[in-house]
Subunit: 417 residues, 2 copies
């Protein structure tokens, strides 16, 4: 089945908004084995829309149209869809009632122009949007089936997963449900993960293994489809166990969890709290943690300085350079001073010279808790940003490992010693 994604809207066409909707849709479909073969972008322009619809109908079996379902005059998708399908627009009474109820629950009166969002091509298939006022719909134009989706990312994503993909899978002759299982790891490169998991796909037919590297983390994805949710659960269980076994301690989080949320959840369950000392990472570790809702109850104190003497003085010790010994001392002193159950110090000495791939950093991580203190040493290479991002991740990951009782000094693929 040839699928086309047709994105509409002046904001996208002119580049004012980066088209992340396209990337999300193409990726989700690909993960389910649905191949996108063409992408088109046009603005809020009637003539362009008409010809884009006609051309897509001639090229593809299924077309997902994104955007243009809003209440304003420049939202033309329903109108042009009706024109291209050769039918009039008719009022969808049920959707109008739903919208009015939606506004009523918010103690507001529905603006008159929202009525436009309930005008759909006669005979179309209604597609629900439980979280917005732009409903979706499907019509056939020539031999292609067109699915219309809202431009608001949150609404589009939900409609794609829950409504559009089951319809596309059924149309492709493979009806059923899909699932995407994600593992986030730190310390393994994509090519090595690929090697380690090369035979996973063979363990279950129809499972698709994929990777997405966003340094310093790697995302490993298992995409499945099956007849029922129960079947997916049964297929996935042994695969999940195998991936966990092979990637082992390098898995920092799964699905929507993050390294920092795992650290905070573990701290919370231990009844603990945290203090962090940073140098070159410049508050980046504290910021990652404090972005998580509820972190404030666990994060007691952060100190930042690029100068060893300054940083040491802040916690009442003496030090002249970012040595392993100072990392341990700072962590211990910070823990005592702040009253936190756990303290981590991430001290980085960056190479001198102009920035570039040859610039590296020596990283000393000190971890202190009721059980004493440990130090993790590492060297990363690849320029300022690379070292900084890697050091933030390594600091958080060392903390995760310590909190979970895992070895803190497992060698990372991109580490130099």
């Amino acid at each position: 089945m040839r699928i086309e994604i047709l994105c509409t809207g002046d904001e996208i066409l002119t580049g004012k908004t980066i088209n992340t909707n396209y990337a999300h849709m193409a990726q989700r479909l690909g993960e389910a084995g649905l191949e996108v073969v063409w992408g088109t972008t046009v603005g809020d322009d009637r003539a362009s829309l008409v010809s884009a619809f006609q051309q897509a109908a001639a090229r593809a079996d299924a077309v997902i149209v994104n955007g243009g379902l809003g209440p304003t005059v420049d939202d033309l998708s329903q109108e042009v869809a009706a024109e291209a399908a050769g039918v009039p627009l008719v009022l969808h009474e049920e959707w109008l009632a739903r919208m009015e109820a939606f506004y009523l629950r918010r103690n507001r009166v529905m603006p008159a122009n929202n009525r436009k969002q309930a005008m759909l091509p006669q005979g179309c298939e209604f597609i629900d949007n439980p979280i917005g006022t732009a409903c979706g719909f499907a019509v056939s134009i020539d031999k292609a089936r067109f699915y219309f989706t809202p431009g608001v990312p949150r609404e589009m994503k939900k409609m794609l997963d829950e409504q559009i993909m089951p319809r596309l899978l059924a149309r492709a002759g493979t009806p059923g449900v899909t699932r995407l299982k994600r593992f986030h790891s730190f310390g393994i490169g994509e090519s090595r993960a690929d090697e380690m998991l090369s035979d996973i796909e063979a363990m279950a037919p129809g499972v698709k293994l994929g990777f997405q590297a966003h340094y310093p983390q790697l995302e490993t994805k298992l995409a499945l489809r099956g007849a029922t949710t129960a079947e997916l659960d049964a297929t996935l269980a042994p695969l999940e166990a195998e991936v966990r076994k092979r990637l082992g301690n390098f898995i920092v989080a799964e699905d929507t969890a993050s390294l920092e949320s795992v650290v905070l959840d573990r701290l919370r369950s231990l009844g603990g709290s945290l203090a962090v000392a940073e140098s070159f990472t410049g508050g980046g570790i504290a910021a990652r943690l404090l972005n998580v809702a509820g972190a404030e109850a666990l994060f007691r104190r952060g100190v930042v300085s690029r100068d060893a003497a300054q940083l040491a003085a802040t916690v009442g010790v003496a030090g002249a350079d970012f040595s392993p010994a100072l990392a341990e001392q700072v962590a211990r002193a910070l823990r005592d001073q702040s009253g936190a159950s756990h303290a981590v110090a991430v001290l980085v000495t960056l190479d001198e010279g102009a920035d570039g791939m040859q610039i590296g950093g020596d990283i000393n991580i000190g971890l202190a808790d009721a059980g004493g203190a440990v130090v993790r040493q590492a060297r990363l290479l690849g320029g300022r940003d690379w070292v900084r991002l890697g050091a933030v991740e390594m600091g958080l990951d060392s903390l995760r490992r310590r909190l979970l009782g895992l070895p803190v000094d497992e060698r990372l693929d991109f580490e130099r010693r």
Copy 2:
């Protein structure tokens, strides 16, 4: 002139890579008054490329093709371009020699498959790429002129500005040079800036005023074109002066400078140094500053805590809540303790309750320097992230204002009191 952007490559088609190249190109062209009317995305697939080229040739006057100029077998742009233009591929001796010299300078031998990058459609117009091995070229297919550009963003951007845009402007009957002047402001909303500058375009023909809001900053852009660089300088000077006068103290930086680089440059020129205390911003202020190369020489210390008593204790004062008085005390104490010439404390009390648009934060900013201390109070509304981003910006901007001798408490458009 109808312009189409045609993006090629499986990474883009499948959504693995978000298509930022498209947005950059469309935006740059729009700023120069060149209108993009269509966007197409296809993969590294011969049949798709051939039909995408044919369809674009039928639709547009000018087509910019991005990607597919690499040395590997899946890079098909030259080959398909030659096929569509009805000419053979021939070796461009000069480019081959340039590539060989490029490798020689790096003490490496050019891999054999790079030769492919010098195979161009016979009779095409060569387009230079001074920073990579993928040269550009232009050919005519039907009545449309096709411009081929590399997928590497840095190379594409340079080629677009220096080579493609002058050609397109000449083709559109408006030859010359273009310039984009940018002002970054904090505290003025897009609609008010639009009002304040509404008659700027009328001051000089051909000048295009544009805005891009990326909260908490607003970017105001003047796009110009003219016959020569000297002409542009002369046109721009009075416009720049007028924008600076109207947006006044709200302009935090211009062009490639940033708020944080302006703060650090000013500190450096004063021979000063800095210490920062943060609460809810969680290291975000320190991280913004320390991301700037050379910041380490000026940034002496940062402390972070969401707990008032903890934060106060870190600098040796007593405090129970994030009051204006505590902001001043912490700034003064931190300055004394760290030996920095300037200290800023940004203390935020976030509203309680579930996150949402109704959640706000009270912001107290204390600034201490040799001249004494001042406090800036503000309230922002709009949810956790909104408040945090706003507080980071307001902390940095208050510091900028203090360093430049400007009033610290000018009211912002999105502030609630």
